[in-house]
């Protein structure tokens, strides 16, 4: 039997928040350690390993909750206790661990020695965990802010780079704007329903009785989320920010932040607003279409890989929105699985990109990677697998994710959205394939010395594990598919399904 927790008691809520609490406490400990040890590359590395240990500890606490199948007694209050949260949190911890591994050698190499980088990463991760597990709009906001503030700082971590400073400032201003929308939306929803608890809102807003105030609030919430997930037309910040930030941070933003935001979006829409599906479904559908098309079209015209990946991550936000669209448990599973596939692939791609760019990844262009297939066969192979996975090619986990999304859309009889999604994928072949083409089919630029590329051992392990996982889950997807489906199955059990869906 699975134990239940009473979330209204202090001990109950503390147990329910164990992964978050462990992680926050560890972050403070690491912060304390770096207060004394913040001079050398050695210190930075020490902080990195401590952070990795913190993530593992938090993961152990999470595993404890997940394995016992702990659930809430009665209506979940403040924080969710279901497999959807556990699976999402596990994914975020995994992505954070990957980011730390990528950073270990990257920071000393780029002379970013201030080790506060790692506590900030941990705090951002803790914020993500709150964000994606929140059962209350206030907690959603708190989690979002904890996450965002830490990531603002991380974006500007390369103090000597004007681009990094620009990225941080831009991200901060736009982020503050987005938070404003979100907060205003929360206020309006509270005004309409008298509660901020997701389940309670869902109970109030049954189908057919959606007050105007609530619709307005929902719209503002969607805009707030739209900024965070970089959906077109709220994406303007993303390319500059992704481009200017240190590469591991970019990877973290493109994967971790997006994962947390999408899982929270799913929870908010599916638990609080199933009755308003008529309001949000068309908005999400159109956002998905515009985001897929625009993201892919602009990505086509990029010269540097980092900017290309930035725009491609916009395009992937579009695919994920399409996965949110159906509003069914199947589609919640699709979001989860796609985030897993996308996160794994993107992190590996940014890791390899960081290795390629000895003199700054901003310079890695399609031309400069020519001939890498022969000079660096393993890196080129890994990058090719990542590109094919992002393209959604069979044999990689990216295909399984896309297939799951298509299934969840098509099972509701929505053909056109599925067709647009696959046509957008065809467009994306136009910028993913040239990467492979350049590495394998063009000769190395004559006259120039071969670009020094190097992947430190820890980062190499992280990338190699990801690449292998991309292929393994592409060929034997059963476990991942079932886990995603089962986790999504625990979502929204307190809400009465909308009739007819």
């Amino acid at each position: 039997m699975s134990p239940s927790l009473d979330l209204s008691t202090p001990s109950g809520i503390a147990l329910a928040l164990l992964p978050e609490l462990v992680l926050s406490a560890c972050a403070l400990v690491v912060l304390l350690v770096v207060a004394w040890r913040h001079q050398t590359a050695e210190d930075s590395r020490l902080a990195g390993w401590l952070s990795l240990a913190s993530l593992v500890l938090s993961g152990a606490a999470l595993a404890g909750l997940w394995a016992r199948g702990v659930h809430a007694a009665g209506l979940p209050f403040m924080i969710a206790l279901d497999d959807f949260r556990y699976a999402g949190a596990a994914l975020v911890l995994l992505l954070a661990a990957g980011t730390v591994l990528l950073s270990l050698a990257y920071l000393p190499r780029e002379q970013m020695l201030a080790p506060e980088y790692y506590p900030l990463t941990l705090l951002a991760t803790a914020g993500m965990l709150f964000f994606l597990g929140a059962e209350d709009l206030i907690v959603v906001f708190l989690g979002l802010e904890v996450m965002s503030v830490a990531v603002y700082v991380l974006a500007g971590y390369d103090r000597r780079s004007a681009f990094s400073a620009e990225a941080a400032l831009k991200y901060f201003l736009i982020g503050a704007f987005a938070s404003g929308f979100l907060l205003y939306g929360i206020a309006l929803v509270y005004g309409a329903t008298g509660t901020t608890n997701l389940g309670a809102i869902g109970g109030q807003l049954v189908a057919g009785r959606m007050p105007l105030l609530g619709s307005l609030g929902l719209g503002l919430l969607l805009i707030g989320f739209g900024f965070k997930i970089a959906a077109v037309p709220f994406h303007m910040w993303a390319p500059d920010v992704y481009d200017g930030s240190p590469t591991p941070v970019t990877g973290f933003m493109a994967t971790g932040v997006k994962t947390a935001a999408f899982l929270s979006l799913v929870r908010v829409l599916y638990e609080a607003f199933p009755g308003a599906i008529g309001v949000w479904q068309p908005i999400v559908g159109w956002l998905a279409v515009i985001t897929m098309v625009v993201g892919n079209l602009i990505a086509l015209s990029q010269k540097t890989l980092k900017r290309m990946l930035a725009y491609s991550s916009v395009a992937h936000a579009g695919y994920l929105l399409a996965a949110v669209w159906p509003g069914t448990r199947l589609s919640a599973g699709a979001v989860l699985l796609y985030l897993f596939a996308y996160g794994l692939t993107t992190l590996a791609a940014f890791g390899i990109l960081a290795a390629m760019g000895r003199e700054g990844e901003r310079d890695v262009t399609y031309d400069s990677i020519a001939g890498m297939g022969q000079s660096h066969p393993w890196l080129a192979f890994g990058m090719s697998v990542c590109m094919l996975s992002l393209l959604g090619f069979p044999g990689t986990v990216g295909f399984i994710g896309k297939w799951y999304i298509l299934s969840s859309i098509v099972s509701l009889g929505q053909g056109p959205l599925a067709v647009i999604l696959v046509l957008a994928s065809v467009l994306s072949a136009g910028y993913y394939l040239p990467v492979i083409m350049s590495m394998y089919m063009r000769p190395a630029p004559a006259g120039e010395p071969v670009r020094a590329t190097f992947l430190a051992r820890a980062a190499g392990v992280a990338v190699a594990v990801s690449v292998v996982a991309i292929l393994v889950f592409g060929v034997w997807p059963t476990g991942a598919v079932n886990a995603a489906g089962a986790s999504a199955g625990t979502l929204a059990q307190t809400v009465t399904p909308v009739a007819g869906r």
Partner: protein
């Protein structure tokens, strides 16, 4: 022979072995010294061919339907299983593939001089993909093989191709990918609609085939999506523009396999999936007129364009468009004769065009030119090569007694009843074929030996003869005594034709969507 095969349990493992062996062969190639790669590849592909030859006897033409079937769960909650089996059509396509593989490898021995390990590893991966397409009995598995096949060919064209290889490679990839991914959506729509109607979520071929009439009013769209995916692959005019680029730029082995096998995957798709799933749409008056018209345009257009090509390889590439038009015509004939004719053209084209590309590769290795005008009068210098080139060209244009004749004759004969006008126009394609091929032969082999560079050319080596002779034998055998092949394909061809007979509109189609559905994954819909 059959007893021997039974005694070693041949039927239980052969199809899996055919899919796994080439992939296993990739490993030693990657870790062997560069010089050994081609030998390993030759050994593996020859082994696969020898093993697959047993299928000829293991397959029993008297039993209709799929044989040697086996199934293993892959994503069982979604009704997806690794499920393989063959019928007479798959049988000959599998054998064609396994035969062409070692010949392509052997034909590349001197042509490929750099990054050999990668080349032969990709060829082997390609073999798995192609064989998988022909034996898959689960549409999801079919789709995966259909797509995965693209990657090795993309690299083969892009790395070892001619001067314009990057353009050709990406064009090839994007065309095929665009078509097939639309097919994926159509497949999912079909599967979910059938699941709604029957309560069973399954990607199994049999299940989809027997319930395909339940998809309802979207059937024309679904057929179109399948048809476009396969039409790009065939290629049917006007989807053919990737073909000349890809064929010309690809290295010899790539061209041989593209023309010999991969084009047939398109027609195989029509024969196995697109038409049997939606016979009412496919054979409806409007659709069949369009497709027959496109087939005839392809025949004539391909032949006319081939005629004016200065590049011999491009000429052969365009001749493929023309030949595949006969296949499409035969498939839409709606008679057993027509279908058998289409199938024989498929095999014969594999032999003759494969051989032509191999010979062009040999000529290129000698002269480093594929332009027709660079040659002339070489019959005096390289008599054996010229003889085999003439023989193959004659087989290709359908000289009676050689393989091309049987197929084209049967498909025209079969199509005449249903589409008399189109058939008459198509028949002129045979004349054009003779024109472009004989004219090219005249300029290459005969005329005056006026280019001094051609004077010292060496004739075929023993290796090159080994490459060509099996194909020559195949062309002769299929031309003189096609009965064993026809007998093996007959049940499948009959089954295909039976499906085309007009059926009464099924009442179930109108009630689709009202029956509750059961499987676990399916219930997670809210």
């Amino acid at each position: 022979m059959t007893d021997f095969l039974t005694s070693i349990g041949y039927g239980q493992w052969i199809l899996h072995a055919l899919l796994v062996l080439p992939l296993v062969g990739v490993l030693p190639i990657l870790f062997a010294p560069e010089a050994a790669a081609k030998k390993i590849a030759l050994a593996v592909t020859t082994l696969v061919f020898v093993l697959s030859a047993g299928l000829w006897w293991a397959y029993d033409p008297a039993v209709p339907g799929m044989q040697l079937t086996s199934l293993a769960p892959w994503l069982p909650q979604w009704g997806i299983n690794y499920s393989v089996g063959i019928d007479g059509i798959s049988l000959v396509m599998v054998l064609l593939t396994t035969l062409l593989m070692p010949l392509s490898v052997l034909g590349s021995f001197r042509y490929i001089t750099r990054r050999e390990r990668g080349f032969y590893a990709l060829l082997l991966a390609l073999e798995t993909g192609m064989l998988g397409v022909f034996v898959a009995l689960d549409l999801f598995v079919f789709y995966v093989f259909f797509e995965v096949m693209l990657i090795p060919m993309y690299f083969i064209i892009g790395i070892w191709g001619g001067t314009n290889r990057l353009y050709a490679a990406i064009k090839f990839f994007v065309y095929t990918f665009a078509g097939s991914i639309l097919m994926l959506v159509a497949l999912l729509v079909m599967v979910f609609r059938i699941a709604d109607a029957t309560g069973t979520l399954s990607f199994a071929y049999d299940h989809l085939l027997s319930h395909a009439n339940l998809v309802g009013p979207v059937a024309p769209w679904l057929f179109l999506a399948f048809a476009v995916a396969f039409a790009i692959k065939v290629p049917v005019f006007p989807f053919h523009t990737w073909l000349p680029d890809a064929h010309v730029e690809a290295p010899t082995a790539g061209s041989v396999l593209l023309a010999g096998v991969m084009l047939k995957i398109g027609t195989y798709g029509f024969l196995r999936f697109a038409v049997p799933f939606f016979p009412d749409v496919a054979m409806g008056p409007a659709m069949s007129k369009v497709i027959v018209a496109l087939a005839v345009i392809g025949i004539i257009y391909g032949a006319l364009v081939a005629m004016v090509q200065p590049d011999f390889k491009k000429l052969v590439a365009y001749s493929s468009v023309s030949h595949l038009g006969f296949v499409m015509l035969g498939l839409w004939a709606g008679t057993v004769q027509g279908v058998q004719g289409a199938l024989v053209v498929m095999i014969s084209h594999g032999f003759s065009t494969g051989a032509l590309f191999l010979i062009i590769g040999m000529m290129y290795e000698r002269r480093h030119s594929r332009l027709i005008e660079a040659y002339g009068g070489i019959a005096r210098v390289v008599p054996v090569l010229s003889l085999l080139l003439t023989f193959t060209a004659l087989a290709s244009i359908g000289l009676p007694g050689l393989s091309g004749f049987v197929g084209e004759f049967l498909s025209l004969l079969g199509a005449f009843e249903a589409h008399p006008v189109a058939t008459i126009i198509a028949t002129t394609g045979v004349i054009f074929a003779a024109a472009y091929m004989l004219w090219a032969l005249q300029r290459i082999i005969f005329n005056r030996l006026d280019n001094p560079e051609n004077e010292g050319l060496p004739d075929l080596s023993a290796r090159e003869l080994t490459v060509l002779l099996p194909l020559v034998a195949g062309m002769l055998w299929l031309g003189l005594y096609p009965a064993p092949v026809l007998r093996r394909m007959e049940p499948a061809a009959k089954a295909y034709v039976d499906l085309l007979q007009p059926r009464a509109a099924s009442p179930a189609a109108t009630t689709a969507g009202t029956v509750p559905v059961t499987p676990a994954a399916w219930e997670t819909r809210r």
